[in-house]
């Protein structure tokens, strides 16, 4: 009893400690996960901006790396009308190109107007044209060597490109140099919001230009070159917010501009653009609420995952706890059983001992005494034997070690015999029986007898004196044969109903202080199961119980 109490207390403390620990670690895990998510989101807010910049600047890179070199493919043969066609494709494809200025360029050693001259080299526009969207036709041509025009406004950029070419030619050595990849930069002039490109001449032409520059030759042939200047509008650069979860607002602003976050709840970052847009930067802003939402959005699946893990842990914990509990109950039942059994054995044994003592102490036994003691010894030995038989057959049945010996039983004879036996045993036991629709039953008489014995014993045992009555009803119903045992006993409390068929279970009551080990109904249940049947009980406290045994009838015949 002390052990049991102690272990119960310990269990409770352990359970509480376990639950507290689990709860604490769950809270810790959720907190860490939240903090981690939060830091991740803020890190990503800083990191992902390069991807947005890359994506935003991609059309420009495409323009710079693929479209501009296409000019070289025309080998200097472009004129205002074909340059217009080319420019149209540019304007259509790249919205950030606002205007194209085309210089149909001639390289020679002639002296011409608006020429850029170094030594004898002349780089001069033959015509200048501009192209933009929704352009009136008469605004295309800005200057033509024959018809005139004032190119002053546009000649600056042309001269810059020419300077670069001239500088390159200066350092070019006829015998050694070849057109290397590094020198290709000569033909690009990338400034703020402007890219100007001269088609890359062939190596032979570079050499010819060099000669034109250095040598005082007679009037040279004219070499065709094309210079195209693209004016870019950063405002037309389409910002591609590929991370809308991080950035609420992205804007292109000048590199020097400084936006002070008006609301303190604002988070912002910046990244400079490249190429012709290098004087601009992308400015990214998001409110902290927005980022918090994002954190929660990312945290939610994480939290669910954590909760699921803990759910699994708790389930496993509960299952272990329940298993322990069942084992504990089983242990208690066995303990009770041994206790009862000892009592059961103790009574006959002490009676035998007393009888033996009396016999030993008596110097002489009268016949009455001898008969009396003989009867006592015989009865108590029978009781012990009966007890042992019960135990033995129960174990046998549990281990399925019984062999069934079926025979055809005449139920009328069988029941009458059982009733007669009990009438002799208990004079005050009132028994009635009815048999309907059936005469014979093919089964093992010993097993069936055991069932009858147990149920009749119980009926007698759990009935108040004067109310010890039993009605046995046997009926053939469909494919089954049904045995009903109705008594007017004390009944079974509702909450005990599910336990009465358990091994070693005994209802704690004043009526079963003796002669019961709690095996009877469990044994019946095992037997019925063994016979592929079913046992059920209906009961009302203080009014009586009805046990119903249903066995399959198909053995008959």
């Amino acid at each position: 009893m002390i052990i049991r109490k102690f272990s119960g207390k310990k269990n409770f403390v352990l359970n509480v400690v376990f639950l507290v620990l689990i709860a604490a670690s769950l809270v810790a895990a959720l907190t860490i996960a939240y903090n981690f998510t939060s830091r991740y989101v803020y890190d990503e807010f800083e990191k992902k901006k390069t991807e947005v910049v890359d994506e935003t600047i991609r059309p420009y890179n495409d323009f710079f790396q693929n479209k501009i070199p296409e000019i070289s493919l025309y080998q200097g043969y472009l004129d205002p009308s074909s340059a217009l066609k080319f420019s149209k494709t540019v304007l259509k494809q790249f919205p950030f190109v606002s205007r194209v200025i085309f210089y149909d360029t001639e390289v020679s050693n002639h002296k011409t107007e608006y020429a850029f001259r170094v030594n004898n080299l002349t780089i001069a526009p033959k015509s200048i044209a501009q192209f933009y969207r929704k352009q009136p036709d008469d605004s295309v041509l800005l200057y033509n060597i024959n018809s005139g025009g004032r190119p002053i406004k546009y000649i600056n950029e042309f001269n810059r490109v020419s300077v670069k070419l001239a500088a390159f030619l200066q350092s070019f050595e006829l015998s050694k140099s070849t057109l290397s990849d590094e020198s290709l930069g000569t033909f690009y002039n990338v400034t703020n919001n402007r890219v100007t490109f001269m088609n890359i001449p062939r190596e032979e032409e570079i050499k010819a230009f060099k000669q034109l520059m250095d040598d005082n030759l007679k009037k040279s042939p004219v070499y065709q070159q094309d210079v195209l200047s693209f004016l870019l509008d950063p405002a037309k650069l389409r910002i591609k917010n590929i991370h809308p979860h991080f950035y609420q607002k992205i804007a292109i602003i000048p590199l020097t501009a400084d936006i002070i976050d008006i609301e303190p709840e604002q988070v912002s970052t910046e990244f400079p653009l490249t190429g012709a847009f290098s004087s601009y930067k992308l400015h990214f802003t998001s409110s902290s609420d927005f980022l918090s939402d994002e954190i929660l959005r990312r945290f939610f699946p994480l939290a669910v995952a954590i909760l699921m893990v803990y759910g699994v842990i708790l389930t496993i914990g509960f299952l272990i706890y329940r298993n322990l509990n069942i084992n504990n109950k089983l242990f208690k039942l066995q303990y009770d059983f041994v206790n009862n059994l000892t009592h059961e054995f103790k009574t006959p044994v002490s009676v035998i001992k007393i009888a033996g003592n009396n016999i030993r102490r008596a110097t002489q036994l009268t016949d009455r005494e001898r008969l009396h003691y003989g009867k006592i010894l015989d009865e108590e030995a029978d009781k012990l034997n009966d007890l042992m038989n019960k135990l033995l057959s129960f174990t046998q049945i549990e281990n399925q070690a019984i062999k069934v010996k079926r025979e055809n039983i005449n139920l009328e004879v069988f029941v009458q015999n059982m009733v007669d036996t009990y009438n002799i045993k208990y004079k005050d036991f009132q028994m009635e029986y009815t048999i309907r629709n059936v005469e014979h039953f093919y089964t093992d008489p010993v097993l069936l007898g055991s069932l009858f014995q147990n149920l009749m014993d119980n009926a007698y045992k759990y009935s108040l004196p004067g109310k010890k009555e039993l009605v046995i009803d046997i009926a053939h119903e469909k494919t089954d044969i049904v045995f009903r045992f109705s008594d007017k006993g004390i009944g079974i409390p509702k909450d005990e109903m599910k336990n009465i068929f358990k091994k070693f279970y005994r209802i704690q009551s004043e009526y079963n202080q003796q002669g019961s080990v709690g095996l009877g109904l469990a044994f019946c249940k095992e037997l019925v199961n063994f016979m592929e049947g079913d046992i059920a009980v209906r009961s009302r406290l203080g009014q009586g119980s009805e046990f119903t045994i249903t066995l399959p009838y198909n053995y008959a015949g």
Binding site: P69, L73, Y74, Q75, Y77, R202, S220, P221, V222, Y223
Partner: protein, 634 residues
């Protein structure tokens, strides 16, 4: 019972094995042997046989330390001597100067190099060795009194003056000063310069004089579309020449031309369908021997009875074989005969007409067996306008001509044409199981002026249509498997291949281009601006970049990389002035960006030529792998 069953079952297995054996045996017979690639593309052992004027010695070129050098043997094949010892370069040119000595020059791109050597291999004499000059031999076929007439750009590096070189003394004498526009000089039988061709790049003018001390007079001036090609001077009339011309004709003919009148006086030979392309003249007999023209194969018409009978005799001795007189001695008593068919590169023979004796000198490529090669069939079809286009079809050996993988090879030029005869490349591809289709689309040479001109400025359009029509015809005939047609070519052919891939992405399963013109602007730009007349000619033939810019853009494959769907093979010469390597790089990059498989062969530092065998092996190995991969399996 059981035993019987067992026997029966065994018998069945035996039968099965027998049938299988028969099947594999048959299979061995039906599949042509795969001949090693190297066998197709190795250098010939001996080549370029030439008889000494007296007919006693035969000279030829043969590799020595992997370079071609001159060897001489007597006509009976005895007493073989190696005359030259070149180890860095091949002998590029050689000829007999007289009975005892030969002239030769090494193979080089620029520089005037000319040496003489005596027939015993002693006394190698340097006549010229100047890196800066260039040399053009004028009368090497008829050297008179040991004096060689040649052109040399000694006075002005851009023009060739005519000189007379005394081969024994080495003395050089200026004969004629080039006024600047003469690009070819002609000597008469006595070695006097009496005729010249002048050009401004587009228009050619024939200059003529009756006597070498009188001034040249212009006879006739032609636009580049009209040609006059002098063959020889007439013997009896000092103002008469023999020439091949298409003046006032569509198809060139061999005519007698009076230079004093400036017009044709007599037509000697013409063909109804094709151009006359060459004529043979004998300085010994002082008469025209034969005239050559090309229908579906090269043919000759003999104007000289003796020559005609020699030819007939050769036909008897070498039936079913094409024969060419490669060289002969002055007397015409000994001849070097070169043979060929579509299935063999042929052999060299020494033939003595008087004895009707034929001696084989060498087999050109002994590792190739004629019976393992494939037949080249002449075919023709009608294009979409209903005009006949001619071509050739080489079918793989021992395969049904049904649903074959086909490689269409547009020729280069496009002024060239395909000819019937042996081709290593085509036989190689046919041996690998591909049917090879060649066609002389409009713009090809040899079929008359009109046919040629009809290809002008139509490179990417009508010319391409002819190729497309040819392929469609092959598919309709059931010969080509429409899913396995490849297109491949070099130069203009490469242009057509890439153009075809871009224009008809569903027609071709793959395409290969060797130095294909990918950008016509670049092709035009290769002509420097100071060659203005030449430029004009190019503008007329290809397109004017100022006025035809849309057409040129439309035709140039470099602008249409986005339309190409099929795998591409590109071989590029990094120094090619007409195809810029950086443009090809860009093109390849563009294709690869779109995940189109590209096999790209380029040697950045050196010129990629197929002149040496190593490069040929590499090139064809890769080409074979490419076609195998994309055409062999459905």
């Amino acid at each position: 019972m059981r035993g019987n069953n067992f026997m029966l079952r065994h018998f069945g297995i035996c039968l099965l094995l027998m049938v299988l054996g028969l099947f594999t045996h048959c299979k061995q017979e039906t599949v042509a042997r795969k001949i090693p690639l190297e066998d197709f593309f190795r250098n010939p052992e001996k080549t370029n046989f030439q008889l000494s004027p007296d007919g006693q010695q035969i000279a030829y070129l043969k590799p020595y330390k992997n370079r071609l050098n001159i060897f001489v043997q007597d006509v009976r094949g005895k007493n073989v001597r190696q005359l030259t010892n070149l180890t860095d370069r091949n002998v590029g040119f050689y000829c007999w100067a007289n009975n005892s000595s030969l002239l030769f020059s090494p193979d080089s791109r620029s520089g005037a190099f000319l040496y003489s050597v005596d027939k015993e291999g002693k006394a190698v004499k340097e006549l010229f060795a100047d890196e800066k000059l260039n040399i053009k031999l004028i009368n090497w076929r008829n050297i008179v009194s040991n004096e060689l007439v040649l052109g040399l750009n000694k006075r002005d590096s851009t023009v060739f003056d005519a000189y007379k070189l005394n081969l024994s003394s080495g003395a050089l004498k200026l004969l004629e000063v080039n006024p600047g526009n003469i690009f070819q000089w002609f000597t008469d039988g006595e070695g006097n310069i009496r005729m010249a061709l002048a050009s401004d790049g587009v228009n050619e003018t024939l200059l003529f004089r009756e006597y070498s001390d009188s001034p040249f007079k212009p006879v006739v001036t032609n636009n580049f579309k009209t040609k006059i090609k002098p063959v020889a001077f007439c013997d009896n009339d000092r103002t008469c020449i023999y020439a091949i011309t298409n003046i006032k004709r569509d198809r060139s003919a061999l005519v007698q031309f009076d230079c004093s009148l400036g017009k044709e006086t007599k037509e000697l030979y013409s063909h109804a369908d094709v151009d006359v392309n060459d004529a043979e003249y004998s300085y010994k007999k002082r008469k025209l021997i034969s005239v050559g023209y090309e229908t579906w194969k090269r043919e000759r018409y003999y104007l000289d009875n003796a020559a005609s009978s020699i030819y007939k005799e050769l036909q008897k001795l070498l039936p079913n074989t094409e024969t060419i007189i490669a060289d002969q001695d002055t007397a015409g008593s000994k001849l070097v005969i070169r043979t060929f068919t579509d299935r063999t590169q042929g052999a060299y023979y020494l033939y003595e007409p008087s004895a009707k004796k034929l001696n084989k000198l060498t087999e050109i490529n002994p590792s190739i067996k004629a019976e393992e090669m494939c037949q080249m069939q002449a075919i023709s079809f009608r294009n979409r306008e209903g005009n006949i286009i001619r071509g050739y079809l080489t079918l793989p050996l021992r395969k049904d001509p049904v649903n074959l993988p086909v490689i269409v090879i547009p020729h280069g030029g496009p002024t060239d044409r395909n000819s019937w005869g042996y081709s290593s490349e085509i036989q190689f591809l046919a041996n690998r199981g591909f049917a090879v289709f060649q066609l002389n689309f409009r713009g090809s040479g040899g079929y008359g002026k009109q046919f040629w001109i009809s290809g002008f400025k139509k490179w990417g359009t009508l010319v391409q249509d002819d190729i497309t029509d040819g392929v469609q015809w092959l598919i309709k005939e059931g010969i080509a498997d429409s899913k396995r047609v490849g297109i491949y070519g070099a130069g203009f052919g490469g242009f057509s291949a890439l153009n075809g891939l871009a224009r008809h992405p569903d027609l071709y399963a793959c395409g290969a281009a060797q130095s294909g013109y990918i950008n016509l602007f670049t092709y035009l730009k290769a002509v420097p601006p100071y060659y203005k007349p030449t430029l004009q000619m190019y503008y007329e033939m290809i397109g004017n970049p100022e006025t035809d810019i849309d057409y040129l853009r439309e035709a140039s494959p470099v602008f249409h990389a986005d339309k190409i769907k099929a795998p591409v093979f590109i071989a590029q010469d990094s120094k090619d002035p007409r195809v810029k390597v950086n443009e090809t790089n860009q093109f390849v990059k563009e294709l690869r960006k779109r995940n189109i498989p590209v096999t790209y062969l380029v040697k950045e530092t050196e010129k990629y030529t197929l002149r040496n065998p190593e490069n040929r092996y590499e090139y064809y190995t890769k080409l074979e792998r490419f076609f195998e991969k994309y055409l062999s399996n459905k």
